[in-house]
Structure formats: structure tokens, C-alpha cells
């Protein structure tokens, strides 16, 4: 069981411009991602949308496999900027590490 936080996307805005709410989970980003395998970055964006922070934290290493190449953002039919959502999540955790 994982707790959800519907306000999480709003909280993320402190770490970057975030259009994650626009995502309708079509999976184009995961299909074009050079990492090809699994559901990255779609899964992370879905977790962010529902505020499943525990899940993101558990799988946070995955965020740093992202090449920041921007192909997902270029091809996103919703303009949800998946690459920026991933970068914003990285910033969130990096900021937490700095504080710790």
C-alpha cells in the first residue's frame, strides 16, 4: 500500500517548471526513450501525478538513468515535458541530500 498526495505536483513546482499534470499516460515517452525497457519515464510521471512519493523514492535511482536527451519531450503529444518532470524529481532528491 502506498500513500498518495494529490498536491505533490504543486509541491514539485518549487524545483522546476512542471507540466506533468498534462500527461495522459499514452506511453510515447517510454516508447521513444533510448533506455528502451520498462515504462520509464511514464511510470515516474504517473507516480508524480498521484503523489506516490514513496514509490518514487524507492525507485529514485532510475531517475539518474535518464540521459536528459529530451526526445521524450520532443515527441510528447500533450506537451507534458516528461524530460523536465524527471529533472525536477532529480532536483527534489538532490536538494534533500544536500540538506542531509
Amino acid at each position: 500500500m502506498s500513500a498518495v498526495n494529490p498536491a505533490f505536483l504543486d509541491e514539485l513546482e518549487a524545483y522546476g517548471e512542471n507540466a506533468g499534470a498534462l500527461c495522459f499516460n499514452c506511453g510515447t515517452c517510454a516508447a521513444v526513450c533510448p533506455l528502451d525497457g520498462g515504462h520509464f519515464p511514464r511510470k515516474m510521471i504517473r507516480y508524480a501525478q498521484i503523489g506516490a512519493v514513496d514509490r518514487i523514492r524507492e525507485e529514485s535511482r532510475e531517475l539518474w538513468r535518464c540521459l536528459h536527451c529530451g526526445l521524450c519531450t520532443q515527441t510528447c503529444p500533450r506537451g507534458a515535458n516528461p524530460g523536465e518532470v524527471i529533472l525536477t524529481l532529480k532536483r527534489l532528491f538532490a536538494a534533500e541530500w544536500r540538506k542531509s
Partner: protein
């Protein structure tokens, strides 16, 4: 894969203390200009961002990282923070082959050669040429990146710099897009190949272009490099994914997972190699990672400078 937290901590500490991600003294990184008789002042300042110069050290560092990735020894990486950055940087510099450093310097000399042949007037002040901090940005260390960007921007602004010519996509993106946004510093920034005015006759040779993500997609400069090559008489073949839809070389993953970087690089080489033409790119990271994946890749600067011989 290494723990991102450990890698970020090391890189951020190095940048904060030495302005360099590897802690290598700048005098050991940036010496290519000494034989070039470059003017200090010009309408535009050449800023390399030290990316080409750092690649030989990246090669050495990632070779070692690859050796211990996922091994038990990787757990001890956090303890490296107790080693002073300049000491570890000096060590890295000592074990990096001189030939790799000469090769990197050669690319910059070729860029200067092409710009001079184009009549481009520019100055170079090595003391103002600093690493942009782009890796910290990519890794999500926003605080570290902004602090560093402000230091670099303050030096440039303090010297009265308004116009900059760059040589690699990462530095170009940082100075053109990120510095105005995060470091309150706006410069007129142009990639060196945007304003070249060269001519030659290389009809018959077709080049397979690998667009770096930052040039092809983020900065939309694919047309400029093709135009420069076209003016020299080269024809350019596009890979299946090119321009706005170019595919990554894998290089950005090197610091966290050399294995992943190699896997992505091998896929890209396979896609580029289909035409059998000479592969050309214009990014030191792409160049290094595609070469590592087994491709015979030529830097754009080599092609441009080589083309001048018969121009």
C-alpha cells in the same frame, strides 16, 4: 550503476572547490591556446567551457568507473570525499595519456583555423574560460549549478563580455539558455559553425551526421552545421533519427553508469553505421562515447579545417 548521491557529492565538491568537475588544476587542462597567438580582445570572446579539454580526463575516469561498477568496491566511493579535490585531480591528470590531450587540443586548433579562414574576429582570455557547470545541472544539483554559474557569469560580466562564441553544445546551451534563467547573465551566444563563411569542393563525399541532443533538439542548430559542410562541398546523410529527433550517444550516463552509456552508444553507432559513410559529430562527449562504442567518428572541426586545404 553507482549511487547518484555519491557521484553528485564528489562532482559538486570538486566544482565548488576548484571550478572543475575533476579537481584538475586548470593549467593542466587548458594549454591548447599557447601556440595559437590569439588576440585577447575582439568583438566576441571565445569561450570553450573546457569541455573538449576535459574529455581525455573523462575517458580515464570512466575507464576506472567502468571497472568497479556494481562491484563491492563501489561501496567505498563515498570515502573519496576525504581526498582533497586537487590531489585526486592531479592523480587523474597524471594517468591520462598525453596523446588524448593532444587530440583534444587539435580539435580546438581546428576550430580556430576554420574561424580565422572565415574572417571571424574574436578574442580569447584563458583566465575567463571556465567550465559551465552543465553536469551539475543535468544531474539535478540545482543549488550547486546555480552557485557555479553565478561565479562564472560574474567573471564574464566583470570583464565586460557581451558576445560569446562557443565550441560545444553543452556549454552553448548553458550560456545561451541556462545562464539568463538562473545566473542573471545574458550574453549573445553563437556556436562557432553558425557564422562560418567557407568554401571548397568536396563533391562526392557524403557524411553521416550525428546531431548532438543539445545542438539538434534543444538549440535547433542542425541546419547550421549542414550548411557549413555544404559550403565546403560535402553532402550530408541523415540517420533515421536526426535533427530535432536525434538520438542520444549515451554520454550523459557515463558518470553514473558507464555500462549504460556503452549500451546506448552501441545502439546509436549501429543506427549511424547503416549508410557506410564517415560519421561526423560536433560534441566532444558524443565523439568520445561513439568512438568508445566502436565507431570511426570525425569531429566537425577536423572536416572543416581539412576542407580548407583545397578551398
Amino acid at each position: 550503476m553507482y549511487e547518484p548521491k555519491d557521484i553528485i557529492a564528489i562532482l559538486a565538491n570538486n566544482v565548488r572547490k576548484t571550478m572543475s568537475p575533476f579537481g584538475i588544476p586548470k593549467s593542466m587542462v587548458n594549454g591548447w591556446w599557447k601556440e595559437e597567438s590569439l588576440p585577447r580582445n575582439g568583438e566576441t570572446l571565445l569561450v570553450t567551457g573546457l569541455m573538449y579539454q576535459l574529455v581525455p580526463f573523462i575517458e580515464t575516469a570512466t575507464t576506472w568507473l567502468a571497472r568497479y561498477e556494481d562491484a563491492k568496491w563501489a561501496e567505498y566511493l563515498p570515502y573519496s570525499r576525504f581526498v582533497p579535490p586537487r590531489l585526486s585531480g592531479l592523480g587523474l591528470a597524471m594517468i591520462t595519456p598525453a596523446e588524448a590531450k593532444r587530440k583534444a587540443a587539435g580539435h580546438l586548433k581546428n576550430i580556430v583555423k576554420a574561424m580565422r579562414a572565415s574572417g571571424r574576429r574574436f578574442g580569447y582570455q584563458p583566465e575567463l574560460d571556465e567550465y559551465s557547470g552543465i553536469l551539475l545541472y543535468d544531474l539535478g544539483d540545482q543549488e550547486g549549478f546555480v552557485r557555479h554559474a553565478k561565479r562564472v557569469a560574474a567573471r564574464l560580466k566583470g570583464a565586460g563580455v557581451t558576445s560569446i562564441v562557443t565550441v560545444d553544445p553543452h556549454t552553448t546551451y548553458a550560456l545561451k539558455v541556462l545562464y539568463p534563467k538562473y545566473a542573471d547573465a545574458s550574453f549573445e551566444v553563437r556556436a562557432y559553425f553558425e557564422d562560418l563563411n567557407l568554401s571548397g569542393a568536396h563533391a562526392g563525399e557524403t557524411l553521416s551526421i550525428h546531431d548532438p541532443c543539445f545542438y539538434g533538439r534543444y538549440l535547433e542548430l542542425s541546419g547550421a552545421s549542414r550548411k557549413a559542410l555544404g559550403n565546403l562541398g560535402y553532402a550530408c546523410a541523415d540517420a533515421r533519427r536526426s535533427g530535432l529527433f536525434t538520438s542520444c550517444c549515451g554520454g550523459p550516463a557515463e558518470s553514473i553508469s558507464p555500462k549504460l552509456a556503452s549500451r546506448i552508444g552501441a545502439k546509436r553507432v549501429e543506427a549511424l553505421g547503416g549508410s557506410g559513410e564517415r560519421i561526423v559529430t560536433m560534441c566532444p562527449i558524443c565523439l568520445h562515447n561513439l568512438e568508445k562504442a566502436g565507431a570511426d567518428v570525425t569531429d566537425l572541426s577536423t572536416v572543416l579545417a581539412g576542407g580548407l586545404k583545397t578551398a
